[in-house]
Subunit: 219 residues, 2 copies
DNA sequence: TAGGTGCGGATTGTATACAATGATGTCGCG
DNA sequence: CGCGACATCATTGTATACAATCCGCACCTA
């Protein structure tokens, strides 16, 4: 039996996670310059591990590093919304098809998260809500039993999270989202890939358009 | 008018490209340990930029870094073949659909590469052949006009290249591959997304099975 | 006043140096 | 003879230090 170790996370992983989280949640804003000295001081490390972390984030598409000019949080442009959702839909569709073939069942976890989400909505905890959303989709992806697919989707999700934090505000988050989640989980558990995919498509396009609406409204 | 600069590539980029290439072509074999001192000496840099390069490659899934134990070329397992091609097909299908919607025309470049490929086959230059293959598919992906999709596919291609170098030998590379390429390019140029996709699917499954055959034959 | 030129501070890039960690082999003990 | 503790070595992790580059500003010139 596997026993959870107290802190499997190394210091470097903690650093990169903290940096990533700061970008995903908009704490570091798109286009913002990331000064190595400042960040190193802020996280209590030297510039060496910090630079390594920035290189990783560069690979994940979260920052852009220009030679001798430093790192900048990759800017988000409206075109990204459509492009990202296009890729995401293709990947998540594949994930659902494979998961349905296996009759993977994530209904329990989904219901649990649904409950948490309700509380988060009441508390107005948007970040928590986004995390629950991502966790649900990550679990669905994992149900495909294809690690490469999971990794690819994870990369897309990083960007999606940035979109959400940048453009969605409290009030625009609709609780019906979780009805979709439950419906998809149920379809997958019954092996109904086509049904799950149809519902997913509606779900994603709605989510995408909500972001586009907010974006247009903001100017 | 744009004037091409002699070397837009910075030193760091050259380093990371060299490292990546060494892994993709199998020069550094799957599972092989990557000692920082040795690599730094080999590439004529110190360990600082080398470590940054390794972090990037870790993000690309080409190496695995264990804390205090160093980097290893990510091993390839048979399961990877099926998983990677599954993801690749989903992404490339999307790319073709979008490219066909735009009536993107890559026939000329394809024919040019076909010629080069013929010469490479005669010369037995497998690496050149693989590069031409990748370049063709990269151009097709770019024709989707979706940078995120291109990036996602690029990541898959890194792994595919590793599979090819690891499992394909001279003689198993079939020239008919380029007939498929031309047919797909033509279908896309005519806006026939469905036709292009159908041919692509055959093309990829054949390519995948050729790798699986070689893999089974070897071991 | 517009534009170019050179200086100075700010910031990044990388080498060197040392600390921390993990692997290896040897010795002693049961 | 097997196994475990310890010392030693190889290797990674990171801080410090300095060199290289870039950017902004003042100044000069036409």
């Amino acid at each position: 039996m596997a026993i959870a170790l107290p802190r499997p996370e190394t210091r470097f992983e903690a650093l990169i996670d903290a940096l990533r989280e700061a970008i995903l949640t908009g704490r570091f804003r798109p286009g913002e310059r990331l000064l190595q000295d400042d960040l190193a001081a802020a996280f209590g490390v030297s510039r060496i591990p910090l630079r390594e972390a920035l290189r990783r984030l560069e690979g994940e598409g979260l920052v852009v590093i220009s030679p001798n000019r430093g790192a900048v949080v990759r800017p988000l442009i409206p075109k990204d919304v459509v492009e990202l959702y296009d890729v995401r839909l293709a990947l998540e569709t594949l994930a659902l098809r494979r998961a349905a073939e296996r009759y993977a069942d994530v209904r329990e976890a989904t219901r649990g998260r649904h409950g948490e989400a309700r509380r988060a909505i009441e508390a107005g905890a948007l970040t928590t809500l986004f995390h629950l959303d991502r966790d649900y989709h990550a679990e669905l992806a994992a149900a495909s039993d294809n690690p490469h697919l999971v990794a690819a989707l994870d990369g897309q999700w990083s960007q999606i999270m940035r979109l959400m934090h940048a453009y969605l505000r409290a009030g625009t988050y609709m609780p019906e989202v979780w009805d979709d989640h439950e419906a998809i989980a149920t379809a997958v558990a019954h092996g109904d890939g086509a049904g799950a995919i149809a519902r997913l498509e509606r779900h994603l396009l709605l989510s995408r358009d909500r972001i586009l609406d907010q974006l247009r409204a903001a100017g």
